[in-house]
Symmetry: C2
Subunit: 273 residues, 2 copies
Protein backbone atom coordinates (compact mmCIF):
# COMPACT_ATOMS: atom_id res chain seq x y z
CA UNK A 1 0.00 0.00 0.00
CA UNK A 2 2.82 2.40 0.91
CA UNK A 3 4.71 1.42 -2.22
CA UNK A 4 1.56 1.93 -4.30
CA UNK A 5 1.11 5.41 -2.83
CA UNK A 6 4.54 6.38 -4.17
CA UNK A 7 3.15 5.85 -7.68
CA UNK A 8 1.02 8.98 -7.36
CA UNK A 9 4.33 10.84 -7.84
CA UNK A 10 6.41 10.93 -11.06
CA UNK A 11 9.59 9.82 -9.22
CA UNK A 12 7.83 6.74 -7.86
CA UNK A 13 6.58 5.78 -11.33
CA UNK A 14 9.99 6.44 -12.86
CA UNK A 15 11.82 4.30 -10.29
CA UNK A 16 9.50 1.29 -10.57
CA UNK A 17 8.11 1.32 -14.11
CA UNK A 18 4.65 1.01 -12.56
CA UNK A 19 1.60 3.26 -12.50
CA UNK A 20 -1.88 3.43 -11.01
CA UNK A 21 -5.03 2.86 -13.04
CA UNK A 22 -7.97 4.32 -11.13
CA UNK A 23 -11.67 3.82 -11.58
CA UNK A 24 -13.67 0.88 -12.94
CA UNK A 25 -13.10 1.65 -16.61
CA UNK A 26 -9.30 1.87 -16.40
CA UNK A 27 -9.05 -1.10 -14.01
CA UNK A 28 -11.20 -3.23 -16.32
CA UNK A 29 -8.94 -2.41 -19.28
CA UNK A 30 -5.84 -3.13 -17.19
CA UNK A 31 -7.17 -6.54 -16.11
CA UNK A 32 -8.25 -7.30 -19.66
CA UNK A 33 -4.68 -6.63 -20.79
CA UNK A 34 -3.33 -8.91 -18.03
CA UNK A 35 -5.78 -11.64 -19.04
CA UNK A 36 -5.06 -11.47 -22.76
CA UNK A 37 -2.02 -9.76 -24.23
CA UNK A 38 0.37 -9.08 -21.31
CA UNK A 39 0.14 -11.64 -18.46
CA UNK A 40 1.55 -10.26 -15.22
CA UNK A 41 0.98 -6.64 -16.18
CA UNK A 42 -1.22 -5.97 -13.14
CA UNK A 43 0.62 -6.39 -9.81
CA UNK A 44 -2.02 -5.47 -7.28
CA UNK A 45 -5.62 -4.40 -7.02
CA UNK A 46 -7.09 -2.23 -4.23
CA UNK A 47 -10.77 -1.58 -3.73
CA UNK A 48 -13.18 -0.35 -1.09
CA UNK A 49 -15.84 -2.82 -0.02
CA UNK A 50 -18.50 -0.70 -1.71
CA UNK A 51 -16.64 -0.37 -5.00
CA UNK A 52 -15.79 -4.08 -5.17
CA UNK A 53 -19.46 -4.92 -4.68
CA UNK A 54 -20.58 -2.34 -7.24
CA UNK A 55 -18.14 -3.59 -9.90
CA UNK A 56 -18.26 -7.29 -9.04
CA UNK A 57 -16.86 -8.33 -12.43
CA UNK A 58 -13.51 -6.78 -11.48
CA UNK A 59 -12.51 -8.96 -8.50
CA UNK A 60 -13.59 -11.93 -10.64
CA UNK A 61 -11.33 -10.79 -13.48
CA UNK A 62 -8.49 -10.21 -10.98
CA UNK A 63 -8.88 -13.74 -9.65
CA UNK A 64 -8.78 -15.14 -13.20
CA UNK A 65 -5.60 -13.13 -13.87
CA UNK A 66 -3.99 -14.24 -10.60
CA UNK A 67 -3.96 -10.70 -9.21
CA UNK A 68 -4.26 -10.26 -5.43
CA UNK A 69 -7.24 -8.14 -4.33
CA UNK A 70 -6.84 -6.04 -1.17
CA UNK A 71 -9.87 -4.44 0.47
CA UNK A 72 -9.00 -0.95 1.68
CA UNK A 73 -10.77 1.89 3.48
CA UNK A 74 -12.18 4.84 1.56
CA UNK A 75 -9.40 6.95 3.05
CA UNK A 76 -6.71 4.56 1.79
CA UNK A 77 -8.29 4.45 -1.68
CA UNK A 78 -8.42 8.26 -1.74
CA UNK A 79 -4.70 8.37 -0.89
CA UNK A 80 -4.03 6.41 -4.10
CA UNK A 81 -6.15 8.79 -6.16
CA UNK A 82 -4.99 11.89 -7.97
CA UNK A 83 -8.51 13.00 -8.71
CA UNK A 84 -11.01 15.05 -6.75
CA UNK A 85 -13.67 12.34 -6.69
CA UNK A 86 -11.92 9.00 -5.95
CA UNK A 87 -13.80 5.99 -7.26
CA UNK A 88 -12.51 3.53 -4.68
CA UNK A 89 -10.84 1.14 -7.09
CA UNK A 90 -7.18 1.17 -8.17
CA UNK A 91 -4.83 -1.26 -9.93
CA UNK A 92 -1.02 -1.20 -9.93
CA UNK A 93 0.06 -1.79 -13.54
CA UNK A 94 3.27 -2.07 -15.53
CA UNK A 95 4.08 0.77 -17.94
CA UNK A 96 2.92 0.06 -21.44
CA UNK A 97 4.67 2.59 -23.66
CA UNK A 98 6.62 1.30 -26.65
CA UNK A 99 9.39 2.64 -28.87
CA UNK A 100 8.47 4.60 -31.98
CA UNK A 101 10.44 2.20 -34.23
CA UNK A 102 8.17 -0.65 -33.10
CA UNK A 103 5.12 1.46 -34.01
CA UNK A 104 6.59 2.37 -37.40
CA UNK A 105 7.52 -1.20 -38.37
CA UNK A 106 4.06 -1.14 -39.97
CA UNK A 107 3.40 2.60 -40.33
CA UNK A 108 -0.10 3.53 -39.13
CA UNK A 109 -2.24 5.83 -41.24
CA UNK A 110 -2.80 8.28 -38.37
CA UNK A 111 -0.48 9.25 -35.51
CA UNK A 112 -0.81 12.01 -32.89
CA UNK A 113 2.21 13.91 -31.56
CA UNK A 114 1.72 15.90 -28.35
CA UNK A 115 4.48 18.54 -28.24
CA UNK A 116 4.95 19.99 -24.74
CA UNK A 117 1.35 19.41 -23.67
CA UNK A 118 1.18 20.26 -19.95
CA UNK A 119 -2.37 19.60 -18.87
CA UNK A 120 -3.02 15.94 -17.98
CA UNK A 121 -6.76 16.30 -18.61
CA UNK A 122 -6.10 17.59 -22.12
CA UNK A 123 -3.57 14.84 -22.83
CA UNK A 124 -5.91 12.11 -21.62
CA UNK A 125 -8.79 13.54 -23.64
CA UNK A 126 -6.68 13.62 -26.82
CA UNK A 127 -5.65 10.01 -26.13
CA UNK A 128 -9.34 9.06 -25.90
CA UNK A 129 -10.16 10.91 -29.13
CA UNK A 130 -7.18 9.35 -30.93
CA UNK A 131 -8.44 5.94 -29.86
CA UNK A 132 -11.99 6.76 -30.99
CA UNK A 133 -10.92 7.74 -34.51
CA UNK A 134 -8.64 4.71 -34.84
CA UNK A 135 -5.24 6.42 -34.65
CA UNK A 136 -2.26 4.05 -34.56
CA UNK A 137 -0.25 5.74 -31.78
CA UNK A 138 0.07 8.81 -29.56
CA UNK A 139 3.57 10.22 -28.99
CA UNK A 140 4.05 12.21 -25.74
CA UNK A 141 7.03 14.19 -27.06
CA UNK A 142 9.40 16.71 -25.52
CA UNK A 143 8.48 17.93 -22.07
CA UNK A 144 4.88 16.74 -22.28
CA UNK A 145 2.93 15.58 -19.25
CA UNK A 146 3.48 11.98 -18.08
CA UNK A 147 0.82 9.72 -19.67
CA UNK A 148 0.78 7.78 -16.37
CA UNK A 149 -0.26 10.86 -14.38
CA UNK A 150 -3.48 9.89 -12.58
CA UNK A 151 -5.54 12.67 -14.15
CA UNK A 152 -4.35 11.71 -17.63
CA UNK A 153 -5.13 8.02 -17.06
CA UNK A 154 -8.60 8.94 -15.86
CA UNK A 155 -9.30 11.39 -18.70
CA UNK A 156 -8.26 8.74 -21.23
CA UNK A 157 -11.21 6.64 -19.99
CA UNK A 158 -9.41 3.38 -20.69
CA UNK A 159 -7.93 4.42 -24.05
CA UNK A 160 -4.39 4.40 -22.58
CA UNK A 161 -4.73 0.60 -22.79
CA UNK A 162 -6.04 0.54 -26.36
CA UNK A 163 -3.36 2.05 -28.56
CA UNK A 164 0.44 2.34 -28.48
CA UNK A 165 1.84 5.23 -26.46
CA UNK A 166 5.37 6.51 -27.02
CA UNK A 167 7.29 8.57 -24.40
CA UNK A 168 10.61 10.34 -23.97
CA UNK A 169 11.40 11.46 -27.52
CA UNK A 170 12.33 14.97 -28.59
CA UNK A 171 9.62 16.52 -30.78
CA UNK A 172 12.00 16.98 -33.72
CA UNK A 173 13.20 13.36 -33.57
CA UNK A 174 9.62 12.08 -33.50
CA UNK A 175 8.67 14.22 -36.49
CA UNK A 176 11.73 13.09 -38.46
CA UNK A 177 10.99 9.42 -37.81
CA UNK A 178 7.31 9.80 -38.75
CA UNK A 179 8.23 11.59 -41.98
CA UNK A 180 10.78 8.89 -42.83
CA UNK A 181 7.98 6.36 -42.40
CA UNK A 182 6.00 8.14 -45.11
CA UNK A 183 3.56 10.19 -43.02
CA UNK A 184 2.85 13.81 -43.87
CA UNK A 185 3.34 16.15 -40.92
CA UNK A 186 0.41 18.47 -40.19
CA UNK A 187 0.93 21.05 -37.45
CA UNK A 188 -2.20 22.45 -35.78
CA UNK A 189 -1.43 26.16 -35.74
CA UNK A 190 -4.02 28.91 -35.36
CA UNK A 191 -1.71 31.19 -37.37
CA UNK A 192 -1.43 28.60 -40.16
CA UNK A 193 -2.09 29.52 -43.78
CA UNK A 194 -3.65 26.20 -44.75
CA UNK A 195 -7.26 25.88 -43.67
CA UNK A 196 -8.48 22.48 -42.45
CA UNK A 197 -11.45 22.41 -44.83
CA UNK A 198 -9.29 23.34 -47.83
CA UNK A 199 -6.93 20.45 -47.12
CA UNK A 200 -9.95 18.23 -46.70
CA UNK A 201 -11.51 19.37 -50.00
CA UNK A 202 -8.17 18.85 -51.76
CA UNK A 203 -8.09 15.23 -50.58
CA UNK A 204 -4.96 15.84 -48.52
CA UNK A 205 -6.36 14.47 -45.26
CA UNK A 206 -6.79 10.93 -46.57
CA UNK A 207 -3.01 10.46 -46.79
CA UNK A 208 -1.05 8.87 -43.92
CA UNK A 209 -0.72 11.72 -41.42
CA UNK A 210 0.96 12.68 -38.18
CA UNK A 211 -0.87 15.54 -36.45
CA UNK A 212 1.30 17.67 -34.16
CA UNK A 213 -0.39 19.61 -31.34
CA UNK A 214 1.48 22.21 -29.26
CA UNK A 215 1.45 23.62 -25.76
CA UNK A 216 -1.84 24.98 -24.34
CA UNK A 217 -0.44 28.47 -23.69
CA UNK A 218 2.30 28.88 -26.27
CA UNK A 219 1.31 26.66 -29.18
CA UNK A 220 4.08 25.13 -31.29
CA UNK A 221 7.56 26.66 -31.42
CA UNK A 222 8.51 28.06 -34.83
CA UNK A 223 11.16 25.35 -35.27
CA UNK A 224 8.47 22.67 -35.04
CA UNK A 225 5.63 24.39 -36.93
CA UNK A 226 8.07 25.45 -39.66
CA UNK A 227 9.23 21.87 -40.17
CA UNK A 228 5.70 20.59 -40.85
CA UNK A 229 4.38 19.94 -44.34
CA UNK A 230 1.46 22.23 -43.55
CA UNK A 231 0.56 24.57 -40.71
CA UNK A 232 -3.17 24.03 -40.43
CA UNK A 233 -5.68 26.48 -38.96
CA UNK A 234 -9.30 25.78 -38.04
CA UNK A 235 -11.70 28.43 -39.40
CA UNK A 236 -13.33 30.25 -36.49
CA UNK A 237 -16.06 32.69 -37.49
CA UNK A 238 -16.74 33.58 -33.83
CA UNK A 239 -14.99 35.64 -31.17
CA UNK A 240 -12.84 33.20 -29.21
CA UNK A 241 -9.13 33.76 -29.68
CA UNK A 242 -8.46 30.05 -29.84
CA UNK A 243 -9.90 26.63 -29.12
CA UNK A 244 -9.08 24.42 -26.18
CA UNK A 245 -6.29 22.05 -27.24
CA UNK A 246 -8.36 18.87 -26.85
CA UNK A 247 -11.26 20.47 -28.77
CA UNK A 248 -8.95 21.49 -31.62
CA UNK A 249 -7.44 18.00 -31.68
CA UNK A 250 -10.92 16.45 -31.84
CA UNK A 251 -11.81 18.56 -34.89
CA UNK A 252 -8.54 17.77 -36.71
CA UNK A 253 -8.49 14.05 -35.91
CA UNK A 254 -12.14 13.62 -36.84
CA UNK A 255 -11.50 15.40 -40.16
CA UNK A 256 -8.66 12.97 -40.95
CA UNK A 257 -10.71 9.97 -39.90
CA UNK A 258 -13.66 11.11 -42.03
CA UNK A 259 -11.38 11.65 -45.04
CA UNK A 260 -9.99 8.13 -44.71
CA UNK A 261 -13.45 6.61 -44.40
CA UNK A 262 -14.64 8.50 -47.49
CA UNK A 263 -11.56 7.48 -49.49
CA UNK A 264 -12.14 3.86 -48.47
CA UNK A 265 -15.78 4.18 -49.58
CA UNK A 266 -14.72 5.49 -52.98
CA UNK A 267 -12.21 2.66 -53.42
CA UNK A 268 -14.91 0.19 -52.49
CA UNK A 269 -17.36 1.68 -55.00
CA UNK A 270 -14.61 1.72 -57.63
CA UNK A 271 -14.13 -2.02 -57.16
CA UNK A 272 -17.83 -2.69 -57.50
CA UNK A 273 -18.05 -0.87 -60.87
CA UNK B 1 -12.21 40.36 0.60
CA UNK B 2 -14.27 38.16 2.92
CA UNK B 3 -17.38 38.85 0.86
CA UNK B 4 -15.47 38.03 -2.34
CA UNK B 5 -14.36 34.73 -0.86
CA UNK B 6 -17.99 33.73 -0.41
CA UNK B 7 -18.34 33.86 -4.21
CA UNK B 8 -16.23 30.71 -4.53
CA UNK B 9 -19.37 28.91 -3.29
CA UNK B 10 -22.66 28.55 -5.20
CA UNK B 11 -24.68 29.92 -2.26
CA UNK B 12 -22.57 33.08 -2.18
CA UNK B 13 -23.05 33.64 -5.91
CA UNK B 14 -26.76 32.91 -5.67
CA UNK B 15 -27.30 35.37 -2.81
CA UNK B 16 -25.42 38.27 -4.41
CA UNK B 17 -25.76 37.83 -8.18
CA UNK B 18 -21.98 38.20 -8.39
CA UNK B 19 -19.17 35.89 -9.45
CA UNK B 20 -15.38 35.78 -9.67
CA UNK B 21 -13.49 36.06 -12.94
CA UNK B 22 -9.98 34.71 -12.39
CA UNK B 23 -6.87 35.06 -14.50
CA UNK B 24 -5.75 37.80 -16.91
CA UNK B 25 -7.90 36.66 -19.85
CA UNK B 26 -11.19 36.57 -17.94
CA UNK B 27 -10.43 39.78 -16.01
CA UNK B 28 -9.59 41.60 -19.24
CA UNK B 29 -12.91 40.53 -20.78
CA UNK B 30 -14.76 41.55 -17.62
CA UNK B 31 -13.17 45.01 -17.58
CA UNK B 32 -13.82 45.39 -21.31
CA UNK B 33 -17.48 44.69 -20.66
CA UNK B 34 -17.52 47.28 -17.85
CA UNK B 35 -15.83 49.83 -20.12
CA UNK B 36 -18.13 49.29 -23.08
CA UNK B 37 -21.46 47.51 -22.86
CA UNK B 38 -22.30 47.21 -19.13
CA UNK B 39 -20.89 50.05 -16.95
CA UNK B 40 -20.67 49.06 -13.29
CA UNK B 41 -20.50 45.33 -14.05
CA UNK B 42 -17.14 44.91 -12.24
CA UNK B 43 -17.30 45.71 -8.53
CA UNK B 44 -13.78 45.00 -7.33
CA UNK B 45 -10.43 43.86 -8.60
CA UNK B 46 -7.84 41.96 -6.54
CA UNK B 47 -4.30 41.27 -7.69
CA UNK B 48 -0.94 40.25 -6.28
CA UNK B 49 1.88 42.75 -6.79
CA UNK B 50 3.55 40.40 -9.25
CA UNK B 51 0.41 39.76 -11.31
CA UNK B 52 -0.51 43.46 -11.46
CA UNK B 53 2.98 44.26 -12.76
CA UNK B 54 2.88 41.39 -15.27
CA UNK B 55 -0.52 42.43 -16.66
CA UNK B 56 -0.10 46.19 -16.33
CA UNK B 57 -2.90 46.92 -18.84
CA UNK B 58 -5.44 45.56 -16.33
CA UNK B 59 -5.04 48.07 -13.46
CA UNK B 60 -5.09 50.77 -16.15
CA UNK B 61 -8.36 49.41 -17.56
CA UNK B 62 -9.76 49.16 -14.02
CA UNK B 63 -8.89 52.81 -13.38
CA UNK B 64 -10.61 53.82 -16.62
CA UNK B 65 -13.69 51.85 -15.60
CA UNK B 66 -13.71 53.32 -12.10
CA UNK B 67 -13.04 49.94 -10.47
CA UNK B 68 -11.06 49.89 -7.20
CA UNK B 69 -7.88 47.80 -7.33
CA UNK B 70 -6.76 46.08 -4.12
CA UNK B 71 -3.29 44.58 -3.84
CA UNK B 72 -3.45 41.23 -2.03
CA UNK B 73 -1.01 38.55 -0.90
CA UNK B 74 -0.52 35.38 -2.94
CA UNK B 75 -2.30 33.51 -0.16
CA UNK B 76 -5.31 35.84 -0.31
CA UNK B 77 -5.44 35.54 -4.12
CA UNK B 78 -5.27 31.74 -3.83
CA UNK B 79 -8.21 31.83 -1.41
CA UNK B 80 -10.29 33.46 -4.18
CA UNK B 81 -9.26 30.83 -6.70
CA UNK B 82 -11.04 27.59 -7.47
CA UNK B 83 -8.19 26.31 -9.60
CA UNK B 84 -5.02 24.42 -8.74
CA UNK B 85 -2.68 27.07 -10.15
CA UNK B 86 -4.01 30.50 -9.07
CA UNK B 87 -2.98 33.30 -11.38
CA UNK B 88 -3.04 36.06 -8.77
CA UNK B 89 -5.68 38.21 -10.42
CA UNK B 90 -9.43 38.17 -9.75
CA UNK B 91 -12.38 40.47 -10.51
CA UNK B 92 -15.78 40.52 -8.81
CA UNK B 93 -18.38 40.75 -11.60
CA UNK B 94 -22.14 40.90 -11.97
CA UNK B 95 -23.88 37.85 -13.45
CA UNK B 96 -24.43 38.15 -17.15
CA UNK B 97 -26.93 35.46 -18.09
CA UNK B 98 -30.04 36.46 -20.02
CA UNK B 99 -33.47 34.96 -20.60
CA UNK B 100 -34.01 32.65 -23.57
CA UNK B 101 -36.86 34.85 -24.95
CA UNK B 102 -34.37 37.74 -25.27
CA UNK B 103 -32.00 35.46 -27.21
CA UNK B 104 -34.80 34.24 -29.47
CA UNK B 105 -36.15 37.71 -30.30
CA UNK B 106 -33.79 37.38 -33.27
CA UNK B 107 -33.25 33.61 -33.47
CA UNK B 108 -29.56 32.72 -33.85
CA UNK B 109 -28.50 30.15 -36.44
CA UNK B 110 -26.69 28.02 -33.87
CA UNK B 111 -27.46 27.42 -30.19
CA UNK B 112 -25.93 24.95 -27.71
CA UNK B 113 -27.99 23.29 -24.98
CA UNK B 114 -26.08 21.64 -22.13
CA UNK B 115 -28.42 19.10 -20.53
CA UNK B 116 -27.25 18.04 -17.06
CA UNK B 117 -23.56 18.64 -17.77
CA UNK B 118 -21.74 18.19 -14.45
CA UNK B 119 -18.07 18.88 -15.13
CA UNK B 120 -17.20 22.60 -15.02
CA UNK B 121 -14.11 22.08 -17.21
CA UNK B 122 -16.25 20.43 -19.90
CA UNK B 123 -18.91 23.15 -19.69
CA UNK B 124 -16.32 25.94 -19.96
CA UNK B 125 -14.62 24.22 -22.88
CA UNK B 126 -17.93 23.86 -24.75
CA UNK B 127 -18.63 27.55 -24.08
CA UNK B 128 -15.25 28.41 -25.62
CA UNK B 129 -15.91 26.20 -28.66
CA UNK B 130 -19.43 27.65 -29.10
CA UNK B 131 -17.90 31.12 -29.08
CA UNK B 132 -15.21 30.10 -31.58
CA UNK B 133 -17.71 28.76 -34.11
CA UNK B 134 -19.97 31.79 -33.73
CA UNK B 135 -22.89 30.20 -31.84
CA UNK B 136 -25.55 32.64 -30.70
CA UNK B 137 -26.08 31.31 -27.17
CA UNK B 138 -25.32 28.51 -24.71
CA UNK B 139 -28.15 27.26 -22.50
CA UNK B 140 -27.08 25.65 -19.19
CA UNK B 141 -30.29 23.61 -18.81
CA UNK B 142 -31.66 21.33 -16.13
CA UNK B 143 -29.26 20.45 -13.35
CA UNK B 144 -26.16 21.53 -15.24
CA UNK B 145 -23.09 22.97 -13.54
CA UNK B 146 -23.16 26.68 -12.64
CA UNK B 147 -21.55 28.68 -15.48
CA UNK B 148 -20.06 30.96 -12.79
CA UNK B 149 -18.18 28.10 -11.14
CA UNK B 150 -14.51 29.17 -11.10
CA UNK B 151 -13.30 26.18 -13.11
CA UNK B 152 -15.96 26.80 -15.76
CA UNK B 153 -15.09 30.51 -16.01
CA UNK B 154 -11.43 29.63 -16.39
CA UNK B 155 -12.02 26.87 -18.97
CA UNK B 156 -14.14 29.26 -21.03
CA UNK B 157 -11.00 31.41 -21.47
CA UNK B 158 -13.00 34.62 -21.63
CA UNK B 159 -15.80 33.27 -23.84
CA UNK B 160 -18.30 33.54 -20.96
CA UNK B 161 -18.19 37.29 -21.71
CA UNK B 162 -18.62 36.91 -25.47
CA UNK B 163 -21.95 35.25 -26.07
CA UNK B 164 -25.31 35.06 -24.29
CA UNK B 165 -25.58 32.45 -21.56
CA UNK B 166 -28.98 31.20 -20.34
CA UNK B 167 -29.47 29.51 -16.94
CA UNK B 168 -32.19 27.87 -14.89
CA UNK B 169 -34.46 26.39 -17.57
CA UNK B 170 -35.69 22.82 -17.73
CA UNK B 171 -34.20 20.96 -20.71
CA UNK B 172 -37.63 20.25 -22.22
CA UNK B 173 -38.72 23.91 -21.94
CA UNK B 174 -35.51 25.10 -23.61
CA UNK B 175 -35.97 22.62 -26.46
CA UNK B 176 -39.61 23.60 -26.96
CA UNK B 177 -38.74 27.31 -27.12
CA UNK B 178 -35.87 26.73 -29.55
CA UNK B 179 -38.08 24.62 -31.81
CA UNK B 180 -40.82 27.28 -31.74
CA UNK B 181 -38.19 29.76 -32.87
CA UNK B 182 -37.57 27.64 -35.98
CA UNK B 183 -34.42 25.79 -34.97
CA UNK B 184 -34.06 22.07 -35.67
CA UNK B 185 -33.11 20.07 -32.56
CA UNK B 186 -30.12 17.77 -32.97
CA UNK B 187 -29.28 15.53 -30.02
CA UNK B 188 -25.70 14.23 -29.77
CA UNK B 189 -26.28 10.56 -28.99
CA UNK B 190 -23.74 7.81 -29.53
CA UNK B 191 -26.64 5.39 -30.03
CA UNK B 192 -28.20 7.66 -32.66
CA UNK B 193 -29.20 6.34 -36.07
CA UNK B 194 -28.31 9.49 -38.00
CA UNK B 195 -24.60 9.83 -38.66
CA UNK B 196 -23.06 13.31 -38.49
CA UNK B 197 -21.45 13.05 -41.93
CA UNK B 198 -24.68 11.86 -43.55
CA UNK B 199 -26.57 14.86 -42.18
CA UNK B 200 -23.74 17.05 -43.40
CA UNK B 201 -23.78 15.52 -46.88
CA UNK B 202 -27.57 15.92 -47.01
CA UNK B 203 -27.21 19.65 -46.32
CA UNK B 204 -29.05 19.34 -43.03
CA UNK B 205 -26.40 21.03 -40.91
CA UNK B 206 -26.68 24.40 -42.66
CA UNK B 207 -30.17 24.92 -41.20
CA UNK B 208 -30.71 26.86 -37.97
CA UNK B 209 -29.82 24.32 -35.29
CA UNK B 210 -29.85 23.77 -31.55
CA UNK B 211 -27.37 21.06 -30.53
CA UNK B 212 -28.23 19.26 -27.29
CA UNK B 213 -25.43 17.57 -25.33
CA UNK B 214 -26.09 15.27 -22.38
CA UNK B 215 -24.49 14.24 -19.12
CA UNK B 216 -20.88 12.96 -19.19
CA UNK B 217 -21.74 9.60 -17.61
CA UNK B 218 -25.34 8.98 -18.63
CA UNK B 219 -25.81 10.86 -21.91
CA UNK B 220 -29.26 12.21 -22.71
CA UNK B 221 -32.39 10.76 -21.10
CA UNK B 222 -34.72 9.03 -23.55
CA UNK B 223 -37.35 11.74 -23.07
CA UNK B 224 -34.92 14.37 -24.35
CA UNK B 225 -33.17 12.38 -27.10
CA UNK B 226 -36.54 11.09 -28.32
CA UNK B 227 -37.91 14.62 -28.65
CA UNK B 228 -35.08 15.74 -30.96
CA UNK B 229 -35.49 15.96 -34.74
CA UNK B 230 -32.46 13.70 -35.08
CA UNK B 231 -30.32 11.66 -32.71
CA UNK B 232 -26.87 12.13 -34.16
CA UNK B 233 -23.91 9.79 -33.72
CA UNK B 234 -20.28 10.49 -34.58
CA UNK B 235 -18.66 7.66 -36.57
CA UNK B 236 -15.86 6.12 -34.50
CA UNK B 237 -13.80 3.51 -36.34
CA UNK B 238 -11.53 3.02 -33.29
CA UNK B 239 -11.85 1.30 -29.93
CA UNK B 240 -12.95 4.00 -27.50
CA UNK B 241 -16.47 3.48 -26.19
CA UNK B 242 -17.25 7.16 -26.45
CA UNK B 243 -15.74 10.59 -26.84
CA UNK B 244 -15.23 13.14 -24.09
CA UNK B 245 -18.25 15.44 -24.04
CA UNK B 246 -16.31 18.58 -24.97
CA UNK B 247 -14.52 16.71 -27.79
CA UNK B 248 -17.84 15.46 -29.19
CA UNK B 249 -19.30 18.96 -28.95
CA UNK B 250 -16.30 20.39 -30.80
CA UNK B 251 -16.81 17.94 -33.67
CA UNK B 252 -20.58 18.61 -33.92
CA UNK B 253 -20.36 22.40 -33.59
CA UNK B 254 -17.51 22.63 -36.08
CA UNK B 255 -19.50 20.51 -38.56
CA UNK B 256 -22.47 22.92 -38.26
CA UNK B 257 -20.24 25.96 -38.57
CA UNK B 258 -18.51 24.52 -41.66
CA UNK B 259 -21.88 23.71 -43.27
CA UNK B 260 -23.08 27.28 -42.74
CA UNK B 261 -19.88 28.75 -44.17
CA UNK B 262 -20.14 26.49 -47.22
CA UNK B 263 -23.81 27.36 -47.74
CA UNK B 264 -22.93 31.07 -47.51
CA UNK B 265 -20.14 30.52 -50.08
CA UNK B 266 -22.56 28.86 -52.47
CA UNK B 267 -25.08 31.70 -52.08
CA UNK B 268 -22.29 34.20 -52.75
CA UNK B 269 -21.17 32.32 -55.88
CA UNK B 270 -24.80 32.08 -57.01
CA UNK B 271 -25.09 35.87 -56.84
CA UNK B 272 -21.92 36.36 -58.85
CA UNK B 273 -23.15 34.16 -61.73
Amino acid sequence: MASARKLTRPAGREATGRFLAEGPQAVREALQRALTTVPGSVYEFFGTEGALARYADLPAMAAAAGVRVTVVSQQAAAALSETVTPQGIVAVCSRLDVGLPAVLAQPPALVVVLAEIRDPGNAGTVLRTADAVGAGAVVFAGDSVDPYNGKCVRASAGSLFHLPVVCGMAVSAAIAALRDAGLQILAADSAGLAELEELSAAGRLARPTAWVFGNEAHGLPESVAGSADERVAIAMPGNAESLNLAAAAAICLYASSRARLQAADRTERGRQC
